[in-house]
Amino acid sequence: MSEIGLQGGVAAALMIAGLFFFAVGTLGILRFPDPFTRLHPAGKADTLGASLIILGLIVFEGPSLLSLKLLLVEAFILLSNPTATHALGRAALREGLRPWTQGPPSDPEAPA
């Protein structure tokens, strides 16, 4: 830690936090029961993990043209990941897949 310094320490902490979110996301992709629930870790934990790791790299880099490019990559991930998630969910719904429920739906007015 003494040789890394404060800047490197903050960058490493951010990257390890991002790794945690990636790990949780992959766990969710393994454990959730149907495509709609699996969109949840794929869309959110993934985006947050990528954002944190790129933020850590920006902190390590400091202000430069390279960190501007890193910010561009992050902005693109923030834009493209929800778009892909939404498109996937809509396509699955249009094909006729029904979201997973635990047991029979208790609400009689629930859409079939």
């Binding site: 890394i4 969109l39 993934d46 990528a50």
Partner: protein, 94 residues
Amino acid sequence: MSAVFQGVAVAMALLLLPPLYRIVKGPTVYDRLIGGAMMGTLTSVLLLVMGYAADRADMYVDLSLGYGLALLIGSLATTKYLETRAAPEAGEAE
């Protein structure tokens, strides 16, 4: 600091395996696409970390940006194809 980047890169490479399992085993095509999208995001960030581990970040940033673009276009095109295959007149079918 290079050791930190190398450790993060190895951990991310290991995290590529669960989505790969979902791609191989996924019961529906959407499970496979979700696994593919997650592997794509992981790879896009892994390229950046690898660039810092190899001290060639200026080159790897451009690679990562291009990979992300290709990923988004591929994902959108595949879902659009699946949607029109499922309901050819999706506009009026409601």
